[in-house]
């Protein structure tokens, strides 16, 4: 019940702060790029764009949302409310993933990617992965500049290998690396059970860490500079 309310409100906030508009514009831009490319590249390009959406946008927007709340001292209010940190984590993650899923569906259909359910599952998993990372980072820091700085290593660790993997520039032994599994799913390629298991384990661990970090942030809630 509370989770449903939270989720609906998160969507409302995101609409209010112009996220939907921004994503709408991005989607249009992505489609223009897709159709400007030669037919032969379209599949890989679509996979890259779909992956980059949660990877770049999800991570960054989650950080921005949490920092914004911090700067308005909203975490103090959460600390003194009957809300569970896990409900907060799930609601925020789900609401951002939903946007990524919509963008992914549009791009996949536009590019004519096969295996739509697999593409969407891959998008959802990458969305969870990156938004949780963004959330964990954002609870630890106090300014937007700091956040941008700290996202760099995350992008290097997650985004870069996945892109290299997409273009088969990495040794196949690395195919079970969680970000690469996501990329394989989005690109409609095959993936291993071990890869999925590892990805699942990483996601569970990140949920656990995110809950811990959010609880801690609420307890020591204070102001930040934006």
């Amino acid at each position: 019940m509370r989770l449903r309310h939270l989720f609906l409100w998160d969507m409302r906030f995101q609409a209010k702060y112009g996220f939907y508009l921004l994503y709408g514009l991005l989607t249009v831009l992505y489609i223009v790029i897709l159709f400007a490319l030669p037919q032969a590249w379209r599949g890989s390009a679509a996979a890259l764009l779909i992956f980059s959406d949660p990877a770049a946008m999800g991570l960054f927007f989650m950080g921005a949302i949490v920092l914004l709340e911090k700067s308005q001292r909203v975490p103090c209010a959460f600390a003194a409310a009957p809300l569970h940190a896990m409900e907060y984590v799930i609601s925020k993650t789900a609401s951002l993933c939903l946007i990524s899923l919509i963008v992914a569906a549009i791009l996949a259909l536009a590019a004519g990617l096969p295996h739509l359910p697999q593409v969407l599952l891959g998008t959802a998993l990458s969305g969870i992965l990156f938004t949780l990372l963004g959330m964990i980072l954002a609870t630890k820091i106090t300014s937007l500049n700091q956040f941008i700085l700290f996202t760099v290593p995350v992008e290097i660790a997650c985004f870069v290998p996945a892109v290299l993997h997409l273009f088969q520039l990495l040794p196949t032994e690395l195919r079970n690396y969680p970000a690469n599994v996501c990329m394989d799913m989005i690109a409609g390629r095959s993936f291993t059970a071990a890869g999925i298991l590892l990805l699942g384990a990483v996601i569970i661990l990140l949920f656990y860490l995110a809950e811990k970090c959010v609880s801690k942030m609420w307890e020591s809630a204070g102001g930040v500079k934006l």
């Binding site: 309310h5 308005q72 001292r73 409310a81 009957p82 809300l83 307890e219």
Partner: protein
């Protein structure tokens, strides 16, 4: 409602809150009065279950604070020292959102808005609110779920006289609804007016705890001060209960020679100073 026994807490290794004991009864307005850094907000945070690392016992609504669960907050309303709202959302949206966090359906939002005179500003963004409007809005946010216990951190600080008056009336209104209210302040006049009992806090310790009236009466009675002219101005003073024994005053009255006369009772501020050796501000 609240029982604190032998409470110790510190953010660091240096002792801070030490050997605190007090109880707060249902329906009471209880004030923490003390200078900046005394530990008032810290104490509130402990009672809110936000600082579980204390020693001793602090029981709120029947729950030991360090063992609180999330349900603990269904019956507690908190008004922090600062605004804790989404600035880009309207007042009404903020209230709707925060109200959705509670299981209890609570009090109607329109009624609360009207109570603090914000019904015509409800659709404005909080960012466009004045300080007084924000503090009223944050106050009713604490009432949304109709909690039995209210924590108000500096509810009157930084408000102009009109808003200050309004806030005090709102607090007294909640007392009439049988809420238990804990507030912190360093304004002794507000404390005198609002609180059934106050605790003097300085350096993490309670120096005195009683009704404002008893505290004021405990230290010296009201004095009468008078002046007269006799080759220059003279001033003398005398406790109000010994006026009949003051021969100078008697004579001055008989000869109609008094230039001025006034009585002054010690304020809570004077008493605070006398007991703790510190000023309130």
């Amino acid at each position: 409602m609240i029982q604190v026994n032998d409470l110790y807490f510190s953010y660091t290794t240096k002792p801070f809150i030490e050997a605190m004991n007090f109880t707060v009864e249902k329906g009471e307005i209880f004030g923490f009065l003390g200078p900046s850094g005394a530990g008032k907000s810290t104490l509130q945070k402990i009672l809110l279950g936000m600082l579980p690392g204390y020693r001793g016992s602090a029981i709120v609504n029947g729950t030991e604070c360090r063992h609180r669960t999330n349900r603990f907050y269904e019956n507690i309303g908190v008004d922090f020292e600062f605004s804790t709202m989404y600035e880009k959302l309207s007042a009404r949206e903020n209230l709707q959102f925060f109200s959705s966090l509670y299981e209890k359906s609570g009090r109607p939002i329109e009624e609360l808005l009207e109570m603090v005179g914000l019904q015509n500003d409800a659709d404005k963004r909080v960012a466009d609110f004045s300080k007084g409007m924000k503090s009223r809005l944050n106050f009713i946010k604490a009432l949304l779920h109709d909690p039995a216990l209210l924590f108000l951190d500096e509810p009157t600080s930084g408000l102009d006289p009109a808003n200050n008056r309004m806030m005090k009336d709102l607090i007294l209104e909640e007392k009439k609804r049988e809420k238990t209210i804990l507030l912190t302040t360093h304004n002794m006049q507000d404390a005198t007016e609002l609180c059934d009992r106050v605790a003097f806090i300085a350096n993490g310790k309670i120096y005195a705890l009683d009704s404002p009236h008893n505290l004021i009466m405990s230290k010296g009675a009201t004095r009468v001060t008078y002046t007269w002219m006799d080759h220059g101005e003279h001033t003398a003073s005398c406790p109000i209960d010994r006026l009949s024994g003051d021969e100078v005053l008697q004579k001055l009255i008989a000869q109609n020679r008094l230039k001025s006369i006034h009585s002054s009772e010690p304020t809570l501020n004077d008493i605070f100073m006398e007991i703790t050796g510190r000023t309130l501000l």
